[in-house]
């Protein structure tokens, strides 16, 4: 990661509250936000959209060997989640011994994602948890 506060700070709305965009021209939703709609390009009508954060696991893995920043958390579950509004995103799934399965319904939870050493910034953001239980 980076010792650079603005880089994290400017993504807070998206990472804390799942703010993305919606193109009212073609009615497609985007997360993370895009300035240009890939469907409509110049005729795009982009507006902010807050995603509910509920969705379905498209695929998943359990990571045993991670980069320096995530070493302490191994093993952890990572998944591609399809949000109910349509777009997909990558995120960690907190789950018990039953693990994560393709097709599982999930909801968002607010968690620490990482830290820059002992004294640096603490990164917060969205992880996912099973919708049931």
């Amino acid at each position: 990661m980076t010792d650079n506060a603005p880089r994290f700070w400017r993504a807070i709305p998206q990472r804390y509250n799942l703010i993305g965009t919606h193109c009212s021209n073609c009615n497609e939703y985007y997360f993370p936000p895009r300035n240009v709609c890939p469907n409509c390009r110049r005729s795009a009508q982009m507006e902010e959209h807050k995603f509910k954060g509920t969705g379905t696991v498209v695929s998943c893995t359990t990571i045993y060997s991670a980069t320096e920043d995530f070493k302490r958390q191994t093993p952890y579950h990572l998944a591609i989640i399809q949000l109910d509004e349509g777009p997909r995103m990558t995120g960690q799934v907190i789950s018990g011994p039953s693990g994560v399965k393709i097709g599982m319904k999930v909801k968002p939870v607010f968690r620490i994602l990482g830290k820059e050493g002992e004294r640096g910034i603490i990164y917060y953001g969205t992880k996912f948890a099973p919708l049931e239980g």
Binding site: A11, P32, S59, T61, A66, Q92
Partner: protein
Amino acid sequence: MRSVSIIGVGCTKFGERWDASLRDIVAEAGFSAIEDSNVSGEEISALYVGNMSAGRFIEQEHIGSLIADYAGLARLHVPSTRVEAACASGGLALRQAVLAVASGYHDIVIAAGVEKMTDVSGGTAADALASAADREWECFFGATFPALYAMIARLHMRRHGTTREQLSMVAVKNHHHGCLNPIAQYQMEITHEKVMKSPMVADPLHVFDCSPLTDGAAAVILAPTDMAKKYCDTPVKILGSCQASDTLALHDRRDITTLDATVCAARAAFGQARIEPGQIDVAEVHDCFTIAEILAIEDLGFVEKGQGGKAVEEGMTSLNGKLPINTSGGLKACGHPVGATGIKQAYEITLQLRGEAKKRQIDDAEIGLTHNVGGSGGTALVHIFSR
């Protein structure tokens, strides 16, 4: 557009080259290509070099100038350009060189690729490689490169019935090929049991499903086909050179188990070459992970979607199969110095088409293909070659 041919090739030994620096290995590859082609320094009119991340791996940017300098071409002021598309940087350098010659802008052009990956710790290298994925929306949440391919594998297994054994068979085959290649990083046989006993990286992928960290460099020299015979008795013609892009992040793709960039680049290259997939005699494909080779043979059009695992199991892609894949040992066994890989693939196919691949030579190889992928599929390059 002019027809373009390869008139010389060179490649270093791949592996942990602790005795040699980036500038040493790239000069070694360049000089062996120059020797192979009989061109003189004065005839070289441009250099393109693929390099993913010298900035992260050896804290050196401005690789274009460095390479011209240490190739002894700085005093001739030969224009030298570094290009980058993560693990597809080498393939991209080859395509830039092809465009330069085909357009008539330059005659004799070197396309090189180099990566020096073992001067940093494994963790730092993994972090540098992860920057080929979407830093803000994949890696920030804890994604690693193997994790992205693991998610592809998981879904491919679920949807198409691809088995854990079939993944292993890719590694077993490529290690067998590596045993026959003197430049390969790993020249040892492995088994399915050995793959399964190696540590888990990202479920279902084990260490032996992953390509290694490698130092290495490769170079090829291009000329207009009508000049090629002047330098070389056995020039290899480039029939197709195509490139395609897709979303940076895996989760944004149309289908997680298809690399659409590969599909598009392949379709364009087959069209340009006026060749059908069935006419390819030998191919080097981008097996950064075992699942990636299965995707590649599907997305290049060699088998139907979902049949890749079965094709490997039936031996189609083995040395004596219908379509031998990764005779060099692939990224898995030959090694994967990311910037060099795309050029090493062209090196291997050139040897095959010239009949110089020795123990791993395919009988009567006439048409070959290379396939180089950047990241999890954000860039793909396909080149088609003929004798």
